[in-house]
Symmetry: C2
Subunit: 405 residues, 2 copies
């Protein structure tokens, strides 16, 4: 397709620039986002034509920033199942409930989407070396997609992150380093080495691909629900690019005329002790911040991002949506993981947090009996396993042994 | 749909029986398979209508044995990506290469398919308790689908199987037991307890669902390749129900008139030391068996099935297809896993064995330069991780640390 009219637009100052592969920080400090010529797209693409396309996130090619189809780096990402939870609907005071099973992506997490797009752009730009600061799943996704593309990957991961996710990076051949610090410390190392190492930083909101790839979660949700969006999306929030991306998806679908009616209210879930979105919304609403920071040490999950790259943009998006944010204690998240397991779903801590948020929203009355709700299970439970935490079932030799237990 | 004309047919003596939920062993010792009224299906379903359906294995509902749609137990299984391996095609003396990414199923393995069908049939039959002997992935799949259906699951797993796969069973709430023995010892325990415990044995070829669910791999392959099958399928073989199921799929598609031309040749890959398919084919061809049994101890993977429930059926299917079988040393399988990792694919030992089989088939000349080949990556690498085997990347505090490494 003709990409001449794809541009960049600043989400803060609205400055518009021609599209090129670049750092997405505007001179004003805002984040640049990709701006499509929706009129042109509407003239080329219909909902009906989409049905005929292969079920992957690349079915939305016209709404993705890659210009050369042969630069697309795909491992089979997107079009993850949207699972209706009939039994839970009967028990909870909401109308409809789904789980979006993002753990069924090729790298076992939703990060596959962003990196399929981001690595495709790297390939298109001729980049040979990329680095990412990550709590794990983004690093694994960069590692896999870079391997597919023949690009050297450098992963910098806080040292307490799940060992299996670290293992995944080395399995895919990434140069993998543990960092004595948090994700922003890992990012500082990459920035410090940028000139000398010549790597491109593909961290959150640093380049055009990841938000656009994440956006496909929102596009899919609309298509899978027959172009009728849910009332509420509960989403585990770290850097917030999923929120930014999905909101962008909904606005683009409105502009295309493919959806109407109100857009979903976002509920950002975080773990107590690392809750910048919760605190930020409270501050903007001039209510006292409820931060439990210092009181407890948040677990090393994708939600542990104390300094999101563009918190303002996340906050304003959640506000625009009529949404909210909630911080949950670690025990509630663990208990939610067990609940989802008992329903047959392998839930990461992040995915489990959305279930905990659902229960909290029902309890508080924020969720209404008329609401349809989608939870995002962003990653697979097994990626977070540690041998220390494994159960040890009984060993038997015979049925007599079984009976004697 | 009207299921009155669905029957059971013995794959050995051709006896035909009305369909009912039952043990699939015929009085002659052969295996009963589900026999559809293909004429009736052909009058109701077209390839063109399929395109409009949701991408899951249940798009082939008419070719699956569940009669009541509201008994379908689904977690989002099937329609896994079929990944073209362009770079590898350039390097290997074959025409085309794909990897079918079965690890992207809801339970991280191809076993999701068989258990979605099997547990649906349990639900339809009103069964409340099911047991399975398994090297791990089947147990995890039973656990998940039974949880979804509210059925009690009992998993019996050889004690040396991967701890994370065992963990998965307990995460899904299955009653999980380690067995001091191999998979057939686990099966013997279930059979011994059958009357007293009242559980249904959903082991390989014991009930109608699992072969039919696995069959959808073959249906999908045909549809994803535009109703043109590959020349060769390389498949990791344990009990062999995948081979039986896919062959059944191809014959049904022929009967529907949806495909023509030769069917794929199957290559069964096994690990040296547990190679009943390799030895069985050699014995039938009256060449000296090449068994390395006793010489090495096979690893606890899904390929370790010393006594397949119906070896004759597997052997005759492979022969009919013009296929072969190969046993590979553990080191070649490990090396193949690293090769697939370096291509961005998280390969289980079973999936890696197909890559090792591919290389062996190229070396021996059994694979031809004109062949198109599909490998099945049946499960996700991380499920087999052990903490003992984890790499330990270097820990750094700063970019100066990085430079000093």
């Amino acid at each position: 397709m003709n990409r001449n009219r794809m541009r960049l637009i600043c989400s803060r100052c609205s400055q518009s620039l021609p599209f090129r592969y670049q750092n997405m920080k505007c001179t004003c400090g805002g984040t640049l986002l990709v701006d499509y010529d929706v009129e042109q797209i509407a003239s080329m693409l219909t909902k009906e034509a989409l049905v005929q396309r292969y079920p992957s996130m690349w079915r939305y090619y016209e709404l993705l920033p890659v210009s050369k189809p042969d630069c697309i780096v795909s491992l089979g990402e997107g079009w993850t199942p949207l699972l209706r939870m009939y039994e839970s609907e009967k028990k909870l005071p909401i109308r409809q409930l789904w789980v979006k099973r993002e753990e069924q992506n090729p790298t076992g997490s939703f990060k596959s989407r962003g990196f399929s797009a981001a690595v495709s752009l790297l390939k298109e730009a001729g980049v040979t070396k990329a680095a990412v600061p990550s709590n794990g799943n983004a690093a694994g996704a960069l590692a896999a997609y870079a391997a597919r593309a023949g690009i050297a990957a450098y992963a910098f991961i806080p040292r307490d992150c799940p060992p299996l996710i670290v293992q995944e990076c080395t399995d895919y051949g990434a140069h993998t380093f543990l960092v004595d610090g948090l994700i922003h410390d890992a990012g500082a190392i990459i920035d410090a080495g940028k000139d000398e190492q010549g790597w491109v930083n593909v961290g959150t909101l640093r380049e055009p691909g990841r938000v656009e790839g994440k956006k496909t979660m929102g596009l899919e949700l609309a298509e899978q629900l027959g172009w009728k969006l849910p009332d509420v999306i509960i989403y585990p929030t770290g850097g917030g690019s999923g929120i930014i991306g999905m909101w962008k998806a909904f606005r683009e679908l409105q502009a295309l005329g493919w959806i109407d009616g109100p857009l979903p209210r976002f509920v950002c879930v975080q773990e107590e002790g690392c809750q910048p979105v919760v605190d930020g919304l409270a501050a903007r609403a001039q209510v006292s911040a409820v931060s439990a920071e210092g009181a407890c040490k948040p677990n090393p999950t994708g939600m542990r991002v104390p300094n999101p790259p563009d918190l303002e943009l996340v906050l304003s998006t959640v506000e625009q949506s009529g949404g909210t944010a909630i911080a949950l204690p670690a025990e509630q998240i663990a208990s939610a993981a067990a609940s989802l397991g008992a329903l047959g779903i392998s839930a990461s801590p992040e995915g489990a947090a959305t279930w905990a948020g659902l229960l909290a929203g029902c309890d508080s009355g924020w969720l209404r009996p008329t609401d349809s709700v989608v939870l995002f299970n962003t990653s697979h439970a097994l990626k977070y396993a540690t041998l220390a935490g494994l159960t040890q079932p009984r060993t038997i030799r015979s049925y007599a042994d079984f009976r004697s237990l």
